[in-house]
């Protein structure tokens, strides 16, 4: 809450009184009244607004000019500018109007630049995608209650995906002075309560000095592994009132990054011993590589051990073209498994079959041999909360380390080098030769699998992947989203080798992330001169399609291909499964899938939706023979700086 000082000549109550009086005066003077015109009595087509409504809609806030001194929100902008935040995706709201005005006028709308968003979820999703490319967080402002409620799912995604986003929610704390009506509906004692379970830290600063400390602290906490979103509740009064710190500006704390936590030296040594002595070590990675350096370190570890690497694709951890890149069944014959920043270690070494066993619960089984040793390095152990279950099932680990994997890898690599006995080196080399052979065989099998249904209509997802790739392969491309509906074909067929060749998923599987994350990542890629491409789910797009408008408005080029399978396909299969277990025929009505799961009758024309928001778009494309030419045309449009969307009717998976 902003403190009230007796020295303030114009407080907020006086300011609002002035606004209402001015508005009322305006409302009492009919704008087109003329004494020369005779009065004609006829029933009004609509009732005129009340003085109160007119004041709210048209009143000029004359008192603003009379507020002396430096606005508090100008100082907030000074604080924000010290942190090298390039963009501010946000949906505008009255509770942060003061800092909004300071950012664009006092701050010159640079560092950060305001990006107009049509949904708070889109704003956070954009920040999410942007970070995955740049490694830098963005700031978003939102209305403290209803706006933050909109943003929550995207914040949860960022939490699960270990992505920093700085969320600032405007709030009008002072019940004695805040405007009645809507602003009071939109005020709360503790707006951060709704996101506290899935943010790393939050605060409610009550002075400008407090804000400076909170903002720098929030940035620092969000950027210390494990990364994560943070929230600050920002009082409207604190933003609007002038600085009153005896004429002196509060100081701005300097940001110094915190070094990420490394694994305990004893645990690192024990892990190295197990790996060096293993006959068949396997490395599983999810969010291990925070930067391109992390990828290089993983390649080094894998090659020293000639260990297969299973990439769960939370990040681009390991080159897909590397002969040690392997599929999940590689765990079956492992004797030592090291998991690096896994969100679900249990799921990596166990299987769950949704087969109705155990009174409908399903069947659990292990995927690994008895006695297999498990090692884990995960920074998330530092930051587990209770309510939301993103920590997954409990898995017993032989050597667990609460540490950042990438920061620990250099020490682990050195320890493994020292621990490998000379006598084992020939066997390790042999392991590598076998892995090369297996990798080549799997590659051929994968391509043969892609050939099945190649000419089918609707288009097979394998063909969609390759028709796209052939058009972008000579560009500096970046896959900024890929729906699960693609059966992983881009990951299986595209030669992904660079850190930005894919950016992982949403983290929390909250629907709607795809287009938002893709636009944010494309913004980052635009500045880096890269070509952004994404495959989007049809259902996913419709949660908040306004992200398309933001891309057009801010000239963010990207190629977005809608993998239109005309349904919420995961749920479609779930309902079908339930019907089968219960020995019933699933009711489809006139749809392809069980009632309530299809997106058809009518079909959504995603290309027209995109066109209406300033995109070049084409569709629906159902014939695979027409796909290549359409993608080629779309690629040219994107290269000219415009976003392009193709609506492609595809196979379900």
């Amino acid at each position: 809450m902003a403190r009230k000082h007796s020295s303030s000549k114009v407080d907020r109550r006086q300011f609002l009184t002035g606004v209402i009086a001015a508005g009322a005066a305006t409302a009492m003077t009919p704008p087109f009244a003329s004494a020369a015109q005779p009065a004609v009595k006829s029933p009004p087509s609509a009732l005129p607004p009340s003085a109160k409504t007119a004041a709210a809609e048209t009143g000029t806030p004359r008192e603003l000019a009379r507020i002396k001194g430096i606005p508090g929100s100008d100082f907030m902008v000074d604080v924000i500018k010290t942190l090298d935040i390039k963009y501010l995706p946000s949906n505008c709201a009255s509770s942060f109007r003061a800092i909004h005005e300071s950012l664009i006028d006092y701050g010159g709308n640079r560092m950060p630049e305001f990006l107009s968003c049509m949904h708070e979820e889109s704003a956070v999703g954009m920040a999410h995608g942007y970070f995955k490319i740049t490694g830098k967080p963005l700031l978003t402002l939102c209305h403290g209650t209803v706006g933050l409620q909109h943003a929550t799912m995207a914040i949860y995604n960022a939490w699960c995906d270990r992505v920093p986003v700085i969320v600032v929610g405007g709030n009008d704390l002072d019940a004695a002075h805040r405007p009645p009506g809507v602003p009071t509906f939109h005020a709360a004692q503790d707006i951060n309560a709704i996101v506290r379970d899935y943010t790393k830290w939050d605060d409610t600063p009550v002075s400008l000095q407090h804000f400076a400390q909170s903002f720098v602290r929030a940035y620092k906490i969000s950027m210390t592994p494990p990364y994560g979103p943070v929230a600050i509740s920002l009082d409207a009064g604190l933003q609007q009132e002038p600085m009153k710190e005896h004429g002196e500006k509060p100081y701005i704390p300097r940001y110094v990054p915190t070094a990420p936590p490394q694994g305990d030296s004893g645990a690192v040594k024990e892990a190295a011993r197990l790996l060096a002595q293993a006959r068949n070590p396997v490395i599983i990675v999810d969010r291990a590589a925070r930067t391109p350096d992390g990828m290089a370190l993983l390649v080094q570890l894998a090659e020293i051990l000639q260990a297969k690497v299973i990439d769960q694709n939370g990040r681009m951890n390991f080159p897909k073209t590397h002969y040690l890149s392997s599929a999940p069944p590689a765990v079956n014959n492992a004797d030592v498994i090291i998991g690096l920043e896994l969100s679900d270690f249990w799921g990596a070494v166990n299987a769950y079959t949704d087969n109705g066993d155990n009174e409908g619960v399903g069947k659990n089984s292990t995927k690994i041999k008895p006695g297999t040793k498990l090692i884990s390095i995960s920074s998330v152990e530092f930051n587990t909360k209770s309510n939301y279950q993103d920590f997954q099932r409990f898995q017993v680990i032989d050597v667990p380390m609460a540490a950042d994997a990438q920061a620990t890898l250099p020490a682990l690599i050195e320890a493994v080098k020292s621990a490998i006995p000379n006598a084992a080196k020939a066997a390790i080399e042999k392991r590598g030769e076998a892995a090369r052979k297996t990798h080549a065989e799997i590659g051929a099998r994968t391509r043969q699998a892609a050939a099945v249904g190649w000419d089918a209509s609707p288009v097979s997802t394998a063909r969609l992947a390759m028709e796209t790739f052939v058009q972008i392969k000579d560009l500096d491309w970046s896959l900024v989203a890929s729906t699960f509906g693609m059966s992983g074909w881009p990951f299986r067929l595209w030669p992904m080798e660079k850190y930005y060749h894919h950016i992982g998923g949403s983290g929390g599987y909250g629907q709607g992330y795809g287009p938002q994350g893709a636009v944010g990542a494309a913004l980052a890629n635009r500045d880096l001169g890269r070509f952004s491409v994404s495959f989007q789910g049809d259902g996913d797009l419709m949660y908040a399609p306004g992200a398309l408008w933001t891309a057009a408005r801010h000239k963010i080029p990207s190629l977005m291909i809608i993998q239109n399978n005309r349904g919420y396909h995961q749920e479609l299969m779930h309902v079908q499964r339930m019907a089968n277990f219960r020995n019933r025929v699933a009711y489809h009505g006139a749809d392809l899938g069980p009632m309530g799961t299809s997106i058809m009758n009518p079909d959504i024309e995603y290309h027209k939706l995109a066109e209406s928001m300033g995109w070049w778009a084409k569709g629906p494309i159902k014939d695979p023979a027409q796909l290549g030419a359409a993608i080629k045309e779309a690629v040219a449009v994107v290269q000219s700086g415009q976003p392009a969307l193709l609506n492609v009717w595809t196979q379900p998976r």
Partner: protein, 114 residues
């Protein structure tokens, strides 16, 4: 795919015992419609090509008796289709449809997959 390979021999044997599904009058055209109506396409694709949610089941489907035994008794990732839901006649038609799907090209002959 692995599950089907594991279960196919047992399913085939069970099918021989049950012996209730006849392919004699099966119609691929009716089978194509049934394949969609019963939701087979949902996991296996419209031409049986498979994907992340289900294995490839065409071209070259498993024998009808094996398919029948598997569908009626599966306890794996795929939910069972009992006769009360999917009749033997419709199943035979679906199998005929799967059999009618032409063999896919060698990937080496597809320029984008070379």
């Amino acid at each position: 795919m692995n599950l089907i390979r594991l279960l196919a021999p047992a399913a085939f044997a069970a099918g021989l015992v049950v012996g209730t599904v006849s392919a004699l009058a099966a119609s691929p055209e009716k089978g194509k419609v049934a394949y969609v109506n019963y939701g087979c396409w949902e996991c296996h694709g419209f031409v049986g090509q498979g994907g992340a949610s289900g294995p490839k089941i065409a071209p070259n489907p498993m024998p009808l008796d094996a398919l029948s035994a598997f569908l009626r008794h599966t306890n794996g990732a795929m939910p069972p289709y009992q006769e009360a839901v999917l009749s033997n006649e419709d199943l035979a038609d679906i199998h005929a449809y799967l059999q009618s799907i032409s063999k896919s090209a060698d990937y080496k002959t597809i320029p984008l997959l070379k």
